[in-house]
Symmetry: C2
Subunit: 417 residues, 2 copies
């Protein structure tokens, strides 16, 4: 009886999570002459290497790892998207250089010394804050995901798109976000009793804006100045953005310039014609704020290939806008049976969580899937149930279970299952 | 009675941590014409901005944020250091492009397809692992600090160095590290009963090596393949490095090529002539593995300036190689009185933790300091006590309390206090 057989956990070769704490999985190449190999020297060991530098760069061997699907609306250069290449990544932090983009009219070149944040409206005293003034306030830093409402929407296409996963799931990323709690600034301006919402405006040319309930503004909203340890990058709102943990990405208004305290939402273009959910009866549901519980197998995924039958890691990310991830299950038989995946140690609220399963592929065609449950009890739905709940033409807030098919030759494709 | 006076916590204007949950700290510029300002348009709002791109870059306005103190031993280009510019950073993640460097003969240009990890010595079957083979093993990803044993050693100089803090504290950084637990690979090769240590060799030209007790290798050591979500960068060991959470940085051997399982340490150059601690009796203490509990005020620090009397954030990072940070205290009167700083939510074992205090500077010269305590009860020592415990000429493993002097004009300098 092998190690694998001692811990059967689900159908079709999926192994118990305890296997993660054991060896005997893959096996390196046996080496009868290890000592001889260890004392040889590769070409790069025969002379000194490259010097230290002021700015570090990735390896040239990794030049293929870049944002995908960079595209603009016809006639524009800055109205569009670029996607995070999750098929090449592992972990809960997304490198800032690879963070997805969604801009409504390009990235403004803002002079940080001239930029001001203005808070006005239903307040006792409107105030203007420079970057220097904001930096004197107590800050807070947290690791949170950011997901565009439109992420994965193309999984509603009649046929599964055959492309790397980032082409349909690349509008989510995880970062450390640091800045001033918005509650501190609202206390400064003195919010009037009749106030119920804020409206946040960006300093981009279309003045992208969104309305945010005052409760969220006082809860965990921050004026973000830092991302992953350094100042925000221009594509993420330099020099400052609103950041609303767990909520649909476009509400975390980039290049934040004004916050108007009001008694009702603005009903702006980006909260009525866009980012709303068409219901089966033809009505439109506005204001879907928290992003739903979701998971995604990053490896193996479309375009990868398993070399031979044997044990492989199934790994991916899960997240929920409602809180933390409690559980991720994996299936290797198209959803007939499921087994708990192991979660990495760092499970943070409203953030990406890594999951891992060991899977012994026997060489026959198999369908692998993951299903996340958050700490509020929400379970990731199937694609079919989402389609049943919404109208044709609905696009936003898609969080259905993703399936990959491993074919006879080990090739991985995108399937609906 | 103002908000501040209600919560006195320590001498010289240091405010209670509860102040962090309130407003009324700094005050923006009052705006009688907020509506008018809000409806004007800055120059960058008058036309579309820059397009999306495959690789994101920092703002040109932040070009001054780069590694500092890039220097090599005379006659070499790759034997030396570069430092993380903590004076410009906030948060627990260090951008990979700014992660400090310490190389012993430059960065080798390794072909990832040709590179192998070889495990041999006191094992049942020596094995060789390619990058592809390693990627099939179950991985784990954690956020941990990495600190060079020599970090801050120049704080033992007779007079305090007057330079930005990174010039003496820039050899520490925080990253997410992802890879295969070394324990899984040791299980594969089958460690013999007489084994007590491993010796890890790098693929750099001097074959930098270190001995690691087998207990640590089986505990939380990993073969790291990923840093901050993407593949390791060349300056951090591409395509793979050993990573030992909490232990002195040079033991996490970069460009890892061989692991020899042995019954005693190698007593190599880098664990005898270097990285050992000279005692008052002239003997040398070898093998100081975990980095001591430590903290550092990043803002305000040398070279910064307070514009005017008023409230400022005192913020910094604390860490311990023994576990998590339990407490950080801050003093604003040169150590006479101390008050607890607030810690950010994300307190992880063997990682950087952010602390923050609010401080009302009254305009008189003041000395600010921070002192960390870890969850094993270790308390950060003073500079004087470290000097008393070691011999003159000792340099490594310095974790003394750092003091900054705020002068009458608000200028901040480095002092010993």
């Amino acid at each position: 009886m092998s190690e694998f057989d001692k811990f059967p956990a689900a159908g079709n070769g999926l192994l118990d999570r305890r296997i993660f704490l054991r060896g005997s999985l893959v096996g390196g190449t046996s080496l009868l002459t290890a000592r001889a190999v260890a004392t040889t020297r590769e070409s790069w060991m025969r002379s000194p290497g490259a010097p230290m530098d002021e700015i570090g760069e990735p390896s040239p061997h990794e030049a293929h790892v870049k944002r995908t699907n960079v595209r603009s609306t016809t006639g524009t250069t800055g109205t569009g998207v670029s996607f995070t290449p999750h098929e090449h990544l592992d972990g809960i932090i997304t490198p800032s250089r690879l963070h997805f983009e969604r801009h409504h009219s390009g990235i403004p070149d803002i002079d940080p010394d001239a930029h001001r944040l203005i808070i006005y409206g239903l307040v006792e005293r409107p105030l203007s804050f420079s970057l220097d003034t904001l930096s004197r306030y107590p800050m807070i830093s947290r690791i949170n995901f950011l997901e565009c409402s439109g992420n994965s929407g193309s999984c509603l296409a009649p046929d599964p798109i055959q492309a790397p996963l980032s082409f349909y799931h690349g509008l989510v990323a995880g970062s450390e976000w640091g800045g001033v709690p918005l509650s501190a600034l609202l206390d400064e301006v003195g919010v009037k009793p009749e106030a119920k919402w804020i409206v946040a405006d960006g300093a981009d040319s279309p003045v992208m804006n969104r309305s945010v309930p005052l409760d969220k503004a006082f809860d965990d909203a921050i004026i973000a100045l830092y991302q992953n340890g350094e100042r925000l990058r221009p594509s993420n709102g330099y020099p400052m953005r609103l950041f609303l943990p767990g909520w649909e990405g476009n509400m975390s208004v980039k290049w934040l310039r004004t916050i108007k305290v009001v008694d009702q939402p603005a009903m702006s273009k980006d909260e009525t014609s866009k980012y709303s959910d068409l219901q089966p009866d033809g009505s439109s549901q506005l204001f879907t704020f928290p992003m739903g519980v979701k998971s995604l197998i990053r490896s193996p995924s479309h375009g990868m290939s398993l070399d031979e039958p044997g044990v492989y890691q199934i790994s991916g990310i899960a997240w929920s806008g409602h809180g933390g991830v409690r559980r991720v299950e994996v299936s290797a038989d198209g959803g007939k049976t499921w087994a708990d995946a192991a979660l990495d140690d760092t499970v943070l609220s409203k953030n990406l969580t890594c999951f891992r399963s060991a899977w012994r592929w026997d060489g026959s065609p198999s369908t692998i899937m993951s299903r996340a449950t958050d700490d509020k009890g929400h379970v990731q739905p199937t694609r079919d149930s989402i389609i049943a709940d919404r109208s044709v033409g609905n696009f936003y807030h898609y969080n259905g279970i993703q399936a990959w098919r491993v074919g006879k030759q080990g090739e991985v494709t995108h399937v609906y299952a």
